[in-house]
């Protein structure tokens, strides 16, 4: 965990420019990521310093860094691993714009952002829950098969929810090789805690936050609203 805490998603903005709106894919905590998916950050206004790695990825299960190639083109950064992501592993990643050196490159601008992780396993968790005009909404860590309804419990009682549409308007440039997060909403309800139970008996629990669903999604994708 300490390693995770050390990792920071980085974007850039000049002193004069407004804060960058950068979105990172996969979303923080996303599961079921395809083995060939590229880590992608769009909307970067960063100009990394020479010698920077651009992106660093750590395999949290096997340990060690993942070798790959990072490129930055027109504000879009992509990290492609040299080999497919190992199946069933968790990863943490961060951007590396370089650091100022007294007798070296300077001028990199950094901002802090939550640590990011994703996994190639099929764990299903609830990443966040919100309460707004849509009712109570749960953001799940991966897509569910069609016609499969998640077992959501609102303050202990089973919650009947519907798949929400249109949430991905926060990120119209989402790369096609990474599946979107899935959102399930129950209109007219209110509560404090939301639990997701899965068929294998595991469960995840989150506190419901009062705020717009878009804000919660934006936070998971690393954007700066």
């Amino acid at each position: 965990m300490s390693r995770l805490l050390l990792l920071a998603l980085v974007g850039c903005a000049s002193d004069d420019a407004p804060p960058a709106e950068a979105f990172a894919f996969p979303a923080n905590g996303q599961t079921g990521v395809a083995s060939t998916a590229a880590l992608t950050v769009v909307g970067l206004q960063a100009e990394p310093l020479p010698g920077a790695d651009l992106a660093r990825v750590v395999d949290l299960d096997a340990g060690g860094h993942i070798a790959g190639t990072a490129t930055l083109d027109s504000g879009t950064l992509r990290f492609v691993p040299d080999a497919p992501w190992p199946a069933g592993h968790r990863f943490a990643w961060s951007l590396d714009p370089g650091v100022d050196l007294p007798h070296g490159p300077q001028g990199g601008v950094q901002f802090d952002s939550p640590a990011r992780s994703f996994s190639t396993n099929d764990d299903l968790t609830v990443l966040a829950a919100t309460r707004d005009a849509r009712g109570v909404c749960a953001i799940l860590s991966r897509e569910l098969p069609t016609a499969t309804e998640p077992a959501l419990y609102l303050d202990g009682a089973r919650m009947v929810a519907e798949r929400a549409e249109g949430w991905d308007i926060i990120s119209p440039r989402r790369p096609t090789d990474i599946a979107p997060l899935q959102v399930w909403c129950a209109p007219g309800l209110d509560g404090q805690w939301l639990r997701l139970r899965t068929e294998d008996g595991s469960s995840s629990l989150v506190e419901i936050s009062y705020g717009a669903l878009e804000d919660a999604l934006t936070a998971l994708y690393g954007g700066r609203p």
Binding site: P50, G51, P102
Partner: protein, 249 residues
């Protein structure tokens, strides 16, 4: 001729004026020879060292020089090493006391993201400088003045610029102590430059005729005063120690 024979010939036939006064910014206008220089940054921001191999050839009133620097420098991932920018210089003695020179520096490596003092030595870039040297004084004490005008381009990352013009003046005084020793001091003012004001002091010893050892310190007064374009706090945080071993005839 094998290198060893060449070195032996250089060492055994050294006229007195082969080893001309020099400083980090002033090339010697002397005889033919070879020289190896070391310069290392000392202080909390240290870890940067530069080695330079230089060859000089004198053809009557023409002096040709090739210098190839290489460096070991800190990066975010640890120390790295790479070639600096090789330079080629040609000096012509217009009159015995006046010399005009043209120095061209070419990009060595695209990955040498460091600068020690001179902006065109390591950082990826290229440029051209016109130099004028004049010297006067006695056999025991010599003075050298150099004026410099150059145009350069660099990899455009701070603290460097995409292109820049350099205007510089340097003064040097060299004092002979006995038959084999001497002291050299110099002051350099440069703009645009990563180290705009420098004061150097060096001692020299002629180990054998033609073989000169120099050791000294460079005080980056401009950097200490916060005048460097790099984002540095003013203060005495560093100096550069240098040394060289040169063989000339």
């Amino acid at each position: 001729m094998s290198p060893l024979l060449l070195l032996a010939a250089l060492a055994t036939a050294a006229p007195d004026d082969a080893q001309a006064p020099q400083s980090p910014r002033i090339d010697p206008i002397g005889g033919s020879g070879v020289q190896v220089d070391y310069a290392g940054l000392v202080g909390p921001d240290g870890g940067l060292a530069v080695w330079t191999a230089t060859a000089r050839l004198r053809l009557e009133r023409v002096h040709l020089q090739v210098a190839v620097p290489s460096a070991r420098f800190p990066t975010a991932r640890g120390a790295d090493g790479a070639l600096g920018n090789p330079s080629f210089a040609a000096y012509y003695e217009v009159r015995p006391e006046h010399t005009l020179g043209l120095r061209v520096s070419t990009r060595g490596s695209a990955e040498t993201w460091a600068w020690l003092n001179e902006p065109d030595e390591l950082w990826p870039g290229q440029g051209i400088d016109l130099l004028w040297q004049t010297h006067w004084g006695s056999e025991q004490t010599q003075f050298v003045f150099q004026g410099q005008l150059g145009a350069h381009s660099s990899a455009d990352y701070a603290p460097f610029r995409d292109s820049w013009v350099r205007l510089g003046v340097s003064g040097l005084v060299d004092h002979q102590l006995g038959s084999r020793f001497g002291l050299t001091g110099s002051l350099d003012l440069q703009y645009w430059d990563t180290s705009p004001i420098e004061l150097t002091a060096a001692a020299r010893a002629d180990l054998i005729p033609g073989l000169r050892l120099r050791v000294g310190a460079l005080l980056p007064l401009g950097t200490w005063a916060g005048l460097t374009p790099a984002q540095r706090d003013a203060g005495v945080r560093e100096l550069t120690l240098f040394g060289s071993l040169g063989l000339a005839r």
